[in-house]
């Protein structure tokens, strides 16, 4: 059927990690010129239900599961490597509990 897309635009991508498919990842053309963004991870631990998605899917592995419990009895995440965060906001969008959010680092104009 006619889907409205030209055939050339179809793209395939599987979710294999970077190490296994290096040919898919290209070097950015502005590498070295564009400033590296730094984010600040903020959390509202009492909202967390411990699903672990933010810890699992963080591309820089900034977060780990904390050993502490929150008020509901779940292990919430904590920031293990704050300097690694590049403000991609994947954890903010993935979190089903609206418990985690990011701010741009104060050095880069964040509040």
């Amino acid at each position: 059927m006619d889907s409205g897309y030209p055939e050339k635009l179809t793209m395939q991508m599987d979710g294999t990690p970077q190490a296994e498919s290096p040919q898919f990842w290209r070097k950015p053309i502005d590498e070295g010129k564009a400033p590296k963004l730094v984010g600040v991870v903020l959390m509202i631990p009492e909202r967390c239900k411990g699903c672990g998605w933010c810890v699992e899917f963080c591309p820089r592995k900034v977060l780990v599961i904390s050993e502490r419990f929150n008020i509901k009895g779940y292990h919430y995440p904590r920031v293990a490597k704050p300097e690694e965060c590049v403000d991609c906001r994947l954890c903010e969008r993935l979190c089903p509990e609206f418990a985690i959010y990011l701010k741009r680092s104060p050095a880069q104009g964040g509040s």
Binding site: Q12, V40, R47, K49
Partner: protein, 351 residues
Amino acid sequence: MNPETPKKGTDGGDELPGSDGHPMDRILRMDRMPHIWCPGCGLGTTVSCFALAVNECGIDYDKLCVVSGIGCTGRAAGYLRLDGYHTTHGRAIPFATGLHLANPDLKVVVISGDGDLSAIGGNHLIHAARRNLNLVVICVNNFIYGMTGGQVAPTTPEGMKATTSPFGCLEHPFNLPYLASSSGATLVARWTTLDVRQMVNTFKKAFMKKGFSFIEVISPCPELYMRRNKLGDGLAMMKRFQSDRLVKHGADPKEADLGATGKILVGEFVNLDRSTYADAYFRMVSQLAEAKSVRKEEAKPGGKSPAQAGAKAPEAVGEPKAKPRPAEGDREGRGPEKKAAGTPAVATSPP
């Protein structure tokens, strides 16, 4: 972590936020939180992406309306600080149809589950797509009836267990993008709850789209679908999405069948432009109003209608079989009859 005000010191990052709080808080009804969705359920992610798309799109909150049916997903309308309606089971689309046609300036979004939209409201879904109503339908597919206790849904993959199919489901599941596109939807997409960025972009595209948009969001149901089938928790399903999903924009929705295992085809499958129901409806209304005003002018005393009638009558008598129903056509204000009424008026103009 915030280096300025670490509240608990060593842990880092777990301090309470400043006065502004979470950026989604202003579009969510935080007095109703925490929500009822289980840990590992993808509904919160879908609502979060929806809220983000609304914020990024810059739609006026007063021009946006969310309608949902019954079920876990049906709670979404109640958690959003927008005009929302929680309707009866399966009837979210009929309600949204009325809302849209009574106030065509509103952007009406239906957020509901697979059971609500494809089983109980299945007819409404296909007919709304056929009419090409200007609606956005977000169908969160978790493969089962969650809130009512884990019964078989029309999207439950073959062989999977549910409370009403303890030995495995015998039925072939619906392919919802194929159903929507073959019924006539103009924007058909499918994403999993892992594709948050793409989901936000598609939501934004759907808000701007004129026509019926159908977006299927595949979400884990950790308690009733995954636990009963021994598939692990919500995180296990998200890992399956990561390994099994295949992004293919413009793919034929016929290929987008879903099974208990195997590839999950995602992407924007269909993006077409087609005349909407509201366009056709309001065109007809304006045509009828125009015809009515013409008739009123003709009926005025001293108007042209008596002369017209006089000029018309011999013709009608002369050829009754060629134009059998001119008078009725006049009454209904159809196009060709208007032209016929115009001709004698020119003929009888004062010399």
